[in-house]
């Protein structure tokens, strides 16, 4: 069964420039799907359209068969869509514990907090009572953002460049976590990434460039073409190589 289906999605900047031009795809429940492609190709905008942060200028989105195109962010979150921002916001006064409890919808005991933060390579003892303010580094705040989405246990979790700003060791732990989610069938993952290690664990890969789907299909089919493109002097998909 498809958990998410996009039909001819489009989104324009206020000056009329099209960022998402005509995108259609579907994602099967329980899969790990990676969206990749050149910078500026529309990947983050697509994620925001799915989460309800932006409204499409054309097209439709279906979640578990229901048309959610006109539903707002809150309504989509309640249906089971979760979104980890590429650049997480900071909060004065909210602690890591507050954020994770808000995300999960209930109080969390120490063991649960430890489990959630451990999935992103953080020690709960050191972090639960810290404020989500400027005292945390970019990598720390990013990992807490990811943990907040994991805490939701949503039907569809969207991660926008989860690797950005994260050290190699934490990133390796994060890749394991994504694999665990898939293995346990505890949700569908849509990950925007340029990282080969994440592409390597995908069930499906969607390549987006210049606001269009350039390729989509099983990893075994799409990844070799991407790797071949990376070695070519100029990427045939667009402005730059999809792999970084």
């Amino acid at each position: 069964m498809d958990i998410l289906k996009a039909e001819h999605l489009a989104w324009d900047l206020p000056d009329g420039v099209g960022i998402i031009k005509d995108i259609s795809f579907s994602i099967e429940s329980g899969k790990l799907v990676v969206v990749t492609g050149p910078n500026g190709g529309g990947k983050t905008t697509l994620a925001k359209l799915i989460a309800g942060i932006e409204t499409p200028s054309a097209g439709h989105l279906f979640f578990e068969g229901e048309d959610i195109t006109k539903k707002n962010i809150t309504e989509r979150a309640k249906l089971g869509v979760a979104y980890a921002f590429q650049q997480p916001v900071r909060f004065k006064g909210l602690t890591v514990r507050d954020m994770l409890e808000l995300a999960s919808g209930h109080a969390l005991d120490d063991a649960h907090l430890c489990d959630l933060l451990g999935k992103v390579g953080l020690c709960a003892n050191e972090y639960v009572d810290r404020e989500l303010n400027a005292s945390l580094s970019g990598g720390e705040i990013k990992r807490i953002e990811i943990a907040s989405v994991l805490a939701r246990g949503a039907k569809l979790s969207i991660f926008d460049e989860p690797e950005a700003g994260i050290d190699l060791w934490s990133f390796a732990r994060l890749v394991e976590t994504f694999e665990e989610v898939r293995r346990n069938q505890s949700g569908t993952l849509l990950i925007i990434s340029h990282q080969e290690r994440i592409l390597n664990i995908a069930d499906e890969i969607i390549v987006i460039a210049d606001g269009l789907v350039r390729a989509a299909g099983p990893r075994e089919e799409i990844l070799p073409t991407l790797l071949a493109d990376e070695k070519s002097p100029r990427c045939p998909l667009g402005k730059e190589s999809a792999l970084v």
Partner: protein, 305 residues
């Protein structure tokens, strides 16, 4: 004490039906209960309204409660409380104030607290203010805190104005000797047509003295706030003051920081930020399932925590 006082005390001073240890409850300008402890003595001033509170040197782990409540209009309560904190003592002072007014005339409490910390003394001072009642008469609370800090002393002020106070004029003055440290965490919420002003005047006179003042405020409705701070560095010292304010609806905030350094090694910093709730913060909480209104409330609640 009357029922209104009991109700206010539960909000402003952790009152659970009784106080443990030393306390004095002030109600409508009179004394509604007092008790000294072995190490903390409370006595009435002989030259005017108020108390002298003496904490014996070396007293550790005790709390003294000195809440004040005004329960109806037509009261203008003025009180002078002097705290003498003995050398090496380490105590908590809880000094909440609640003003309830169902009348047309004004109800006001004006508490002037003077602290004298001896060498090595430590005080955590907690002060919570609230206004209640539906009377047309204003609810006013105008606290003044004067602090004299001897060598190696430490004072932490945790002050909060929750809601319902129509007008407040808060003044805090401190003089710090060698290695003394003052920490202030102030939180103010105003709504409707309320007005709040908070002034700090802190002099870092001693070598290696330090002060860290953080004021967080939210101005909602048509309320107005003013924040004025003056940090004076007269020796090798560290001073930091910060004013963070969130505006909602038609609220307004004026922040006027001032630094005066009279020593090459005086390190003084001021930070001020005033603005509405960041849109990205609301978006993040909405992606967790909160509505716009719930997200705003949660952000303000956390900000003022």
């Amino acid at each position: 004490m009357n029922k209104i006082t009991e109700s206010l005390l539960r909000v402003v001073s952790d009152f659970g039906g009784t106080f443990k240890g030393a306390y004095n409850v002030r109600e409508d300008g009179g004394c509604a209960g007092r008790q000294s402890s072995e190490h903390i003595k409370l006595e009435s001033k002989k030259d005017g309204p108020g108390l002298i509170i003496r904490v014996a040197p070396g007293t550790k782990g005790e709390t003294v409660y000195i809440p004040a409540c005004v329960t109806h209009g037509g009261i203008d309560d003025l009180v002078y409380n002097d705290f003498y904190i003995g050398e090496g003592a380490d105590v908590v002072v809880v000094a909440g104030c609640g003003v309830h007014n169902e009348d047309d005339s004004e109800a006001r409490h004006n508490g002037i607290h003077r602290f004298f910390l001896e060498k090595g003394a430590r005080v955590v001072y907690r002060e919570k203010h609230v206004g209640t009642g539906k009377g047309r008469g204003a609810r006013r609370i105008d606290p003044v805190t004067d602090i004299q800090m001897a060598e190696d002393s430490y004072m932490e002020m945790d002050t909060v104005q929750i809601s319902g106070v129509d007008s407040t004029m808060r003044r805090t003055n401190a003089l710090l000797k060698d290695r003394a440290r003052l920490v202030v965490r102030e939180r103010l919420l105003t709504n409707g047509t309320e007005w709040a002003r908070s002034d700090f005047d802190v002099t870092l006179e001693g070598e290696d003295s330090s002060a860290d003042i953080v004021s967080r405020s939210v101005a909602r409705g048509k309320s107005r706030q003013e924040f004025n701070s003056c940090l004076r560095g007269k020796n090798r010292c560290n001073g930091h003051s910060e004013c963070d304010a969130i505006l909602a609806e038609s609220g307004s905030v004026v922040a006027s920081p001032s630094l005066e350094a009279a020593n090459l090694d005086a390190a003084l910093i001021h930070e001020a930020a005033i603005g509405k709730i960041a849109g990205e913060q609301i978006l993040k909480l909405r992606t967790l399932g909160l509505t716009q209104e719930e997200a705003e409330e949660r952000i303000i609640q956390g900000f003022l925590k």
